[in-house]
């Protein structure tokens, strides 16, 4: 279970430069696609691969591409989402920093498939230094004839530009990203119309995550069927997981989808187990996915071993499952406080709410206040039900998924760790020390999940 399609050459010296990248087989997918394939044939391979959007939503990429409207005389655009702001996620930064040409190559091949002659990488402003690395790679590629006019003499033209943002989680949502790219506030648009019909500059646009576009390279090189042989069921191929929190070996790992969760978190090939204490909880796919107790991460409610796949991680729905999400994985040891963590999550969403929809704008602030008082020993028993009520009224009632993303961490924390919230109400003096569980970990009373 150790095949690497994206990070195979991650440790080769000089792989960030064109010469070494090319020597390791780089840009073969461009040669193959432009010289021997039609754009439709490339789309077909991506469909066959079963590749799903790696930014978090997991929507089939080939299907997304096939929705792209093609009115005659109207330009089409590819926009790469390098906004990577989901807490816990740092895989795209690693990929772009280490192997920038892999993204550029994937963009050329993908743009050819989509019929785009202008493509953008929208990268979060905090990654300014990474934007310089990408710009260097683009300059190298252009000088070598992989970009610009008449690429490989095939008559196909493409320009790629890097666009930096300026600090806003919401710009990872694809329509907010497009607004920002147009020089506006990052307020998500009402859908439909979807970007595939009306995207950048009101033209048909595909927005894909960095890792998704990088995966197009091995798919075109080896064929969609080969790619689909890796993985389990509808979770095909490999996935980059950025692992953090209280584990021994934090870092970015490329896994074949289908690795068992137990192996991933405990084996020395990946996370290497807990950092000297005991595991308490896991957030496997970025802060927006439900937090689950360690034992529910390892095994489903039915007692089956859980796997690192879209389906297995969500087995049991929100009652006992979670999501693969962006692959922003972080684990908690037993010194951590779930109430404190939930307060921190909620403060994040409140800070990042764009303010368009009242349930999100007001609800996240309200939840932050209630969680703050619970965590600081000033909570009331009815606060727990109040929190439950607020998150329920945010979910599903906003233009974009940020509202859901703010609701789920609160709902899952109460669902699985309600007794810890109650402890905060019962022992206000104890929880006033911010490290209240460091000396004396909280002991949960295991219970069947039911809320």
């Amino acid at each position: 279970m150790g095949r690497k399609l994206l990070l195979e050459h991650e440790n080769v010296p000089g792989i960030a430069g064109l010469e070494v990248y090319r020597a390791k087989g780089g840009y073969r997918s461009v040669e193959k696609a432009l010289r021997t394939m039609s754009p439709e044939a490339v789309v077909e391979e991506v469909k066959k691969s079963g590749l799903r959007g790696r930014g978090g939503a997991g929507f089939p990429t080939g299907m997304k591409w096939s929705f792209l409207a093609k009115p005659p005389g109207v330009p089409r655009y590819l926009v790469v989402n390098a906004d990577e702001s989901e807490p816990g996620t740092f895989k795209d930064r690693y990929l772009m920093e280490r192997i920038p040409h892999l993204l550029i190559e994937g963009m050329i091949t993908s743009s050819f498939a989509l019929g785009a002659n202008l493509a953008f990488i929208y990268i979060r402003g905090e990654y300014f230094y990474v934007s310089r690395i990408l710009e260097r790679a683009i300059d190298e590629a252009r000088a070598a004839g992989w970009l610009g006019r008449n690429i490989l003499g095939t008559g196909y033209d493409l320009e790629i530009h890097v666009q930096v943002g300026a600090g806003a989680y919401i710009c990872g949502e694809e329509t907010a990203l497009l607004e920002s790219l147009e020089g506006k506030r990052g307020n998500p648009r009402i859908k439909p119309p979807f970007p595939a019909v009306k995207g950048l500059y009101e033209c048909p646009t595909v927005v894909n995550n960095v890792e998704t576009i990088a995966a197009v390279v091995p798919i075109v090189n080896d064929g969609g069927e080969e790619y689909a042989k890796i993985g389990v069921g509808r979770s095909t191929g490999t996935k980059l997981i950025s692992a953090g929190g209280n584990i021994r070996r934090p870092g970015v790992y490329e896994i074949e989808l289908g690795v068992s969760c137990d192996e991933f978190i405990n084996s020395d090939q990946w996370c290497g187990g807990v950092d000297g204490r005991a595991f308490k909880a896991v957030v496997p796919g970025g802060s927006s996915v439900p937090i689950v107790p360690y034992e529910l991460f390892l095994r489903t409610a039915a007692g089956e071993p859980r796997l690192m796949t879209y389906e297995s991680l969500s087995d049991g729905g929100f009652a006992t499952g979670t999501m693969l999400g962006s692959g922003g994985f972080y684990a908690y040891n037993d010194a951590q406080c779930i109430v404190r963590s939930t307060w921190n999550h909620t403060r994040f969403y409140h800070h990042e709410s764009c303010g368009q929809c009242s349930p999100c704008r007001e609800g996240t602030g309200w939840m932050e206040k209630v969680l703050h008082r619970l965590e600081h020993g000033e909570g009331r028993r009815e606060d727990i039900d109040l929190l439950w009520d607020i998150q329920r009224r945010i979910e599903g009632n906003t233009i974009c998924p940020l509202g859901d993303a703010a609701a789920w961490p609160v709902a899952s924390a109460i669902r699985h760790f309600r007794d810890e919230f109650e402890f905060h109400v019962r022992h206000p003096q104890k929880v006033k020390d911010p490290r209240h569980f460091e000396k004396e970990p909280f002991v949960r009373t295991p219970k069947p999940a039911a809320v």
Partner: protein
């Protein structure tokens, strides 16, 4: 977007602003990237350049200069500048230290690093030291969770920080005459 500090919205007592020749050339090159009639797309990149040329913050004169250069209304600049957390709408120190406070960093000691920084610099989050050298900010996830705790200063990420490493960084920055900007190469 949860702005915690009040923006300076006046021109009174605020230094005038003009782009340098090099900055102007860079702005024009950026504006040329986009399809005809779509140069407003250059607004955020140009605001970064303006901020770097204005002691690290966007004053009203700086934003008005951006509007004039791009041929858009000043309000179109103000509304964007006030939306994004990397744009400072009031003066800041020579080095802005942005410590990540979001959950994955918190699990690895982000809170303790913020507390240490406040003590070491003698200021609270959001404040600037009296000598004008350092502004301390607590920011949301910087995408560096595996190397937490960490901070950003200008274009640089400083990762796996211990209190000692933080103190070393402060000493090193103290002896740097140049301002730390996001746009640094």
């Amino acid at each position: 977007m949860g702005a915690t500090l009040k923006a300076v919205t006046t021109t009174e007592g605020v230094a005038p602003f003009a782009f340098s020749e090099a900055a102007l050339a860079e702005c024009r090159a950026i504006m040329a990237r986009y399809p005809e009639g779509r140069t407003k797309s250059a607004l955020i990149p140009i605001l970064h350049i303006a901020q770097a040329g204005n002691d690290g913050w966007l004053s009203v004169p700086a934003m008005d200069a951006v509007a004039a250069l791009m041929g858009i209304r000043p309000i179109e600049v103000y509304e964007v500048a006030s939306f994004y957390s990397m744009f400072n709408l009031r003066p800041v120190g020579r080095h802005v230290l942005e410590i990540c406070r979001t959950t994955p960093c918190m699990l690895r000691g982000g809170d303790a690093l913020i507390a240490h920084a406040e003590k070491r610099l003698g200021i609270h989050v959001g404040e600037t030291t009296k000598d004008g050298l350092f502004t301390l900010k607590a920011v949301e996830c910087l995408g560096s969770c595996g190397t937490a705790p960490m901070l950003q200063c200008g274009a640089k990420y400083h990762e796996d920080l211990t209190p000692e490493a933080f103190d070393g960084l402060i000493e090193q920055l103290r002896s740097t005459a140049l301002r730390s900007n996001y746009t640094d190469r």
